[in-house]
């Protein structure tokens, strides 16, 4: 076993922990930029994981997907988000409706919950338990961030994390889907983030704030 193999195995084994770490940091984060960085890191961890899988299976498709993740999720989307943050010239506060400590506690609870939830499936599906748990945790964490953070950009980030969870679930169970489909999904995602960014500007222009909890003209 060469050095690379050992590194790959190590990465695979401990990547779930790193992912959880990024989630906890996001929960504690007060600034949007921290969350963007953490999202980038999270995506990088996943890319590393896919690379490890690709290397282990000698799968060209997996390499392509890893490359896509790096380009789109590690670089392009965080860059886009940073640009938006910079251009908005607005407060960087995430505007959480829970305190930092509460958020972290909830995040821990969600992670435990996901382990609890996947236990029966992991066995029947013959997959790594902590990776599957991590994917569910990402899903739940994304959902939690979307619901609890009032800034429009945080909704985008939450959605991206949720998306990451789905991607991870696909990867851990079946090494992802056919390539064309994956590419399509990435493209969609990129467009989605781009559009949401557009809307963030529009919200700022028309409402002069970015607090989505105040967007309550339409109800009933």
């Amino acid at each position: 076993m060469g050095l690379i193999e050992i590194a790959a195995a190590k990465a695979l084994a401990s990547s779930a922990v790193f992912l959880f770490f990024t989630l906890l940091v996001m929960a504690a984060a007060k600034r949007i930029s921290t969350c963007i960085v953490m999202f980038s890191v999270q995506s990088a961890i996943m890319a590393a994981e896919i690379l490890a899988v690709a290397y282990a299976n000698k799968s060209a498709e997996a390499y392509t997907i890893a490359a896509l993740v790096i380009v789109v999720k590690v670089l392009a989307i965080p860059y886009l988000l940073f640009r938006i943050v910079r251009n908005l010239k607005a407060s960087q506060d995430v505007a959480s409706s829970t305190t930092g400590a509460q958020s972290v506690f909830i995040m821990v609870g969600l992670i435990l919950l996901s382990f609890f939830a996947v236990a029966p499936y992991a066995r029947t599906l013959r997959v790594d338990e902590d990776m599957l748990a991590a994917s569910i945790a990402l899903l739940l964490a994304g959902a939690f961030l979307m619901v609890s953070r009032k800034k429009a950009l945080m909704q985008v980030i939450g959605l991206l994390i949720l998306e990451n969870g789905i991607l991870l679930a696909a990867l851990t169970t079946i090494f992802g889907m056919p390539l064309v489909i994956e590419i399509g999904i990435f493209f969609d995602l990129l467009m989605g983030v781009f559009l949401m960014g557009l809307f963030v500007f529009r919200i700022r222009d028309t409402f002069e704030h970015l607090d989505v909890s105040k967007l309550r003209r339409l109800r009933g």
């Binding site: 499936y121 599906l125 679930a169 079946i174 056919p178 064309v180 989605g192 919200i203 009933g220």
Partner: protein, 484 residues
């Protein structure tokens, strides 16, 4: 080629129309593109009927079900484009809100919708459904007012989140297929899945899990309660032709996606589970939407809730199942799309005339705008399922199927909801129609195109209420064959 043409026309039209600075040119380009697309649809439907199914490469296929929905899109597109001629007079000029942008985005939207129907692959299907959200979000926010931006934002986020669940469900189904021994490369292909479905027994739980997520995901897009929250906002704030397009085409489009999954799931693990789920969503949607219609204040929001209700009825039809239930459900999607388009068109006229959609401020329509009022009355009679309009037939089929399948609870729930809807519409519209001539602020001149649109809608509703044309019935039968 037939199928590629269907996609190519709207895509090219979207680009071409963007180059037309002058709004009359834009209208001309749009109308001719619409005509070409219509011809392409007719051609495609014809060929599909002749051949049973058309395949183009690995990712495009059209079968009977596709043909049925293509026809639906064609009819509504024609109506919407025609109506837009008159409607676009009122679009204020802005950075992105000009007729050319309107048409460009509309064709992009149509492009994604066509792609949904033509996808042979469930992964593709997901991508296209998600694209419809992206393409239409800008249209929802077209007016750039506070309400429009808010609605667009909510639409974008809520639907994207919902659709993400559908992706999860799709992956779960893929996993189930792969684990059951289907070749991973084609394990998302619809026909492959249909053939392999009976052997999914080992991954029973996974298929169920998949359907739960797909139902929530596409259900968000369909507007099932409780994932419906985006729908009234988007429908109310979008430009009127787009509201019609959303209600009459987009919802059907998501319903189509769910229908495909429902069929596979039924084949794999029996219909009990997925149908129960659909009945739950359907019953919930019908009840909640009917109740919420009572307390609406805005005309277009009212119509939006009515769409939720009708999607619930369709879900009940699918959930009740059987040839009659499915037939009724499919027919109902078609009838609803026409009736709802008519209603939205009239609401557009109302808005232009009264400057508001607040129903409390609208009086004396019957006197001041008799034609629009007639359209509204016909539309609302149709929408509450009165004979001799088409929705009566389809609702009656669904109810009969429900009684036949001994689903008494859901049938009674549906009946009660329908009467609540009737009461709600009567309550709202009676006040709007009655009143003096003097209550009307501005006079709206209807164009021939407006009359044409309302006339065609009425004629179609009447036609389908009295007699389902043979060709159409044949098409529906073909669609049913696909689902069984």
């Amino acid at each position: 080629m037939t199928l590629v043409l269907l996609l190519l026309v709207p895509f090219l039209a979207a680009l071409l129309v963007l180059t037309c600075k002058e709004s009359r040119r834009a209208v001309l380009v749009a109308m001719s593109a619409g005509a070409i697309e219509g011809a392409a649809i007719v051609n495609a439907v014809w060929r599909i009927l002749a051949a049973g199914a058309l395949q183009c490469g690995q990712y495009l296929r059209a079968d009977g079900l596709t043909a049925f929905f293509l026809l639906n899109v064609g009819v509504i597109l024609a109506l919407v484009l025609t109506y837009s001629i008159g409607y676009l007079r009122h679009i204020p000029a802005g950075r992105f809100s000009s007729p050319r942008w309107f048409y460009s985005l509309t064709f992009l939207f149509v492009f994604t919708i066509m792609a949904v129907f033509l996808s042979a692959n469930l992964g593709m299907l997901w991508i296209c459904v998600e694209s419809t959200t992206l393409a239409s979000a800008l249209l929802v926010g077209f007016y750039n007012t506070k309400g429009a931006v808010e609605a667009g934002w909510k639409y974008l986020v809520v639907c994207t989140v919902g659709i993400a669940f559908a992706l999860f469900g799709t992956i779960a189904l893929y996993l189930a297929a792969v684990r059951s021994g289907v070749n991973p490369a084609s394990a998302l292909d619809w026909t492959v899945l249909m053939n392999a479905a009976p052997s999914f027994g080992v991954t029973r739980d996974l298929v169920k899990l998949s359907f739960v997520f797909v139902a929530v995901g596409y259900g968000t897009k369909i507007g099932f309660v409780p994932m419906h929250s985006w729908l009234p906002d988007a429908h109310a704030e979008a430009p009127t032709p787009i509201s019609a397009l959303l209600s009459a085409v987009l919802l059907n489009c998501a319903m189509y996606a769910l229908l495909r999954f429902d069929t596979i799931t039924s084949h794999a693990i029996g219909g009990e589970f997925s149908h129960t789920l659909l009945l739950i969503f359907g019953g919930l949607s019908v009840t909640v939407a009917a109740l919420l219609m009572v307390v609406q204040r805005d005309l277009k929001r009212l119509l939006a809730y009515s769409s939720i209700e009708h999607m619930g009825i369709v879900a009940i039809g699918i959930g009740v199942g059987g040839p009659l239930g499915l037939f009724g459900a499919l027919l109902h999607t078609f009838n609803h799309s026409i009736a709802k388009s008519l209603m939205f068109f009239t609401s557009g006229n109302v808005r232009e005339s009264f400057g508001t959609l607040r129903m409390r401020r609208i009086h004396g329509m019957a006197r001041s705008m008799p034609w629009t009022s007639a359209g509204l009355v016909v539309g609302s009679l149709a929408i509450v399922g009165m004979p001799p309009f088409g929705l009566f037939i389809s609702e009656f089929m669904i109810l009969t199927a429900a009684f036949g399948a001994s689903r008494y609870l859901i049938a009674i729930l549906l009946l009660v909801s329908l009467s609540v809807v009737f009461g709600a519409l009567l309550h709202h519209f009676q006040r709007m129609l009655a009143g003096k001539r003097t209550d009307v602020p501005a006079k709206l001149k209807l164009l021939p195109s407006d009359f044409a649109v309302m006339g065609v809608c009425t004629a179609l509703l009447l036609l389908f209420g009295v007699h389902i044309p043979g060709m159409f019935a044949f098409l529906l039968q073909r669609a049913l064959v696909v689902l069984q």
